[in-house]
């Protein structure tokens, strides 16, 4: 289609504005993370550190138990991802292949669960976990994360199961393969990429999660990375900018890398879910 020169120029101007808006806060975070203390104190901050340093990173690790926090986040996110996918895959299979009352109810739950204000769920969960002595513990947090990641995991997985032609399963049955055999040797391999994408997505959601971790984890040595990051900001909102930026930058890297890998698949899964609702 023909587009006038003026219109093209306008389009590029808009694109440029978008790129600047997207990129500048992140570039500023990176720049701040590598600035020595005296440059941060200067009245005229610059985009590029004149004297880049790793001091902020060292100081960040000294001030807060970042390594322990990263380890806690890793355990919580891995646990949530593995368990969520293990229990969601069979259920998603049933929801995709059998149109029963239960499948419809599960689909309804997936939609409604997006609308819960967490506060209405966290108070009773807090009370229940407290009675089970699971406050301030990883198993307690992982349990919450699994349920929290389930709606979206089911959502994505149902889409992936539907994409596997049922005829393939029928053909295997005709060839004499049992139900379990068909699932393991025909369906599972075709589903594998979708399962991996779902697991990675559950991993990121748990890695980034803040509210449940804030409520359920009490002591610094148990807390996850997002909670520990907020400790860099003092009670009066005063923050040591350099170490704060350094720690925040580090906490983002895993999500960015994982997300870059699966972004396309998530868009697909999200759309499938969103349009169906």
């Amino acid at each position: 289609m023909r587009t006038g020169r003026a219109a093209r120029t306008g389009q590029y101007a808009a694109l440029l504005a978008y790129l600047v808006f997207l990129a500048f806060p992140f570039l500023w975070l990176v720049s701040t993370a590598f600035k020595p203390a005296r440059e941060l104190g200067s009245l005229h901050p610059t985009w590029i550190p004149k004297d880049p340093t790793l001091d902020n990173f060292r100081q960040a690790f000294d001030e807060q138990p970042l390594l322990q926090a990263a380890l806690n986040s890793l355990v919580a996110a891995l646990g949530a991802a593995v368990v969520a996918v293990l229990i969601a895959t069979p259920m998603a299979y049933v929801m995709a292949r059998h149109r029963t009352t239960l499948s419809r109810m599960a689909t309804g739950w997936v939609v409604v669960s997006q609308a819960f204000p967490f506060v209405l769920v966290i108070i009773p969960l807090f009370l229940v976990l407290k009675n089970l002595r699971l406050i301030n513990s990883m198993p307690g947090l992982i349990m919450v994360y699994v349920v929290w990641a389930l709606p979206f995991a089911l959502w994505m997985l149902v889409g992936y199961v539907r994409a596997v032609p049922a005829e393939l399963e029928e053909a295997a049955a005709v060839d004499g393969a049992g139900k379990l055999r068909t699932l393991v040797s025909v369906t599972a391999p075709l589903l594998a990429p979708g399962i991996v994408a779902t697991a990675l997505f559950a991993f990121i959601t748990a890695w980034n999660e803040f509210f449940f971790a804030l409520v359920l984890l009490k002591t610094p040595e148990k807390q996850t990375l997002p909670v520990v990051l907020t400790h860099f900001i003092g009670a009066e909102g005063v923050a040591d900018l350099g170490p704060l930026a350094a720690a925040a930058f580090l906490a983002t890297l895993p999500s960015l890398v994982v997300f870059a890998v699966i972004q396309k698949r998530i868009t697909g899964g999200m759309l499938a879910g969103a349009v169906k609702s």
Partner: protein
């Protein structure tokens, strides 16, 4: 694309109560229980159960660390809530925030999706960069923007000074500027997701339709109204409703950016309920707040569903 395959048009099966052995009527097929139970039990125990328990708590005087047993107090919490001006202030702020973030997210997202659907150079870069806000932990987004808004060492005020527009200000502490400043962050954080969803919707629109409409002499606006919008409407409705709900329920961004200040100007309902429950230990009262929030969200969802039904349910 999944979009097409995920919405199979199936006639809705009619429920029959008579003939036994009808698979459609059954709760679940035989033998499928062991596939479903591992997910079903945690859903019931850790999601549906707590939700109902939470609603029940709203009718009690439950508090943390109290020795007397919890009592039913009927609708007393809701009556108190009715007169709690602080809560209604936060509620108003919550609605203002949700609308003020969702609308720009949608309008800018739609504009960008239309833009990125054009054969432009550098649009790969825009898509690559869109990952940053989308994948970042909300806490980090908040921290990052605190660095941008910092009155002395922040890039925003420095840019304002460089452009000779004055000295800048302390954006997050100003009574008038705090909420708009936080809203900008909300838009920044949610726009890429909206854009990408709408873009995927656009790419499912057949190009030939556009060309045919152009051949018939339809202008850009006509083409948008008659070809583009009908094609992306389901995605647009869904993403807008979800954005509204997510924004209304948001917590981490404000917690990190302003912690509700200055003077409660950015105290979103979630923040208010969190403080009530976990700082002051008022579990019952906070649960009542949660119920009121659910009611609002249900209204939004209801409007959303009505919008869908009016189109004859083909969305």
């Amino acid at each position: 694309m999944t979009l097409a395959t995920a919405t199979p048009k199936r006639p809705r099966p009619v429920k029959r109560r008579t003939s036994a052995g009808d698979g459609e009527r059954r709760l679940l097929d035989h033998g499928a229980w062991f596939l479903v139970l591992p997910a079903l039990i945690p859903i019931l125990v850790l999601s549906v159960g707590p939700l109902l328990y939470g609603i029940a708590l709203a009718f009690t005087d439950a508090q943390s660390g109290r020795t007397e047993p919890t009592r039913w107090i009927g609708t007393l919490n809701f009556q108190d809530l009715l007169h709690d001006t602080l809560f209604w202030d936060s509620f108003r702020i919550g609605l203002l925030w949700a609308v003020g973030v969702t609308v720009p997210q949608f309008l800018l997202g739609l504009g960008l999706a239309l833009l990125l659907n054009q054969p432009l150079r550098l649009r790969w870069l825009a898509r690559a960069l869109a990952i940053i806000p989308w994948a970042m932990p909300e806490v980090v987004v908040g921290i990052m923007w605190r660095l941008v808004y910092n009155p002395d060492a922040g890039i925003l005020n420095e840019t304002i000074r460089d452009l000779g527009l004055g000295d800048g200000r302390d954006w997050l502490s100003g009574l008038a500027t705090a909420l708009p400043a936080v809203m900008v962050v909300g838009v920044w954080a949610g726009m890429p997701q909206t854009t990408v969803a709408l873009l995927a919707g656009l790419q499912n629109t057949p190009r030939e339709l556009h060309e045919a409409a152009a051949m018939d002499g339809a202008g850009a606006w006509r083409r948008f109204r008659t070809v583009t919008w009908p094609a992306i409407r389901p995605v647009a409705l869904a993403i807008t409703a979800l954005n509204f709900i997510w924004n209304f329920n948001s917590f981490a961004l404000v917690y990190v950016l302003t912690n509700g200040g200055p003077g409660g100007r950015t105290r979103l309902p979630m923040l208010f309920a969190y403080e009530e429950a976990f700082r002051y230990g008022q579990f019952g009262y906070a649960a009542a707040m949660g119920c009121v929030m659910v009611a609002v969200i249900s209204i939004v969802l209801a409007f959303h569903l009505v919008g869908r039904l009016r189109r004859g349910g083909d969305a």
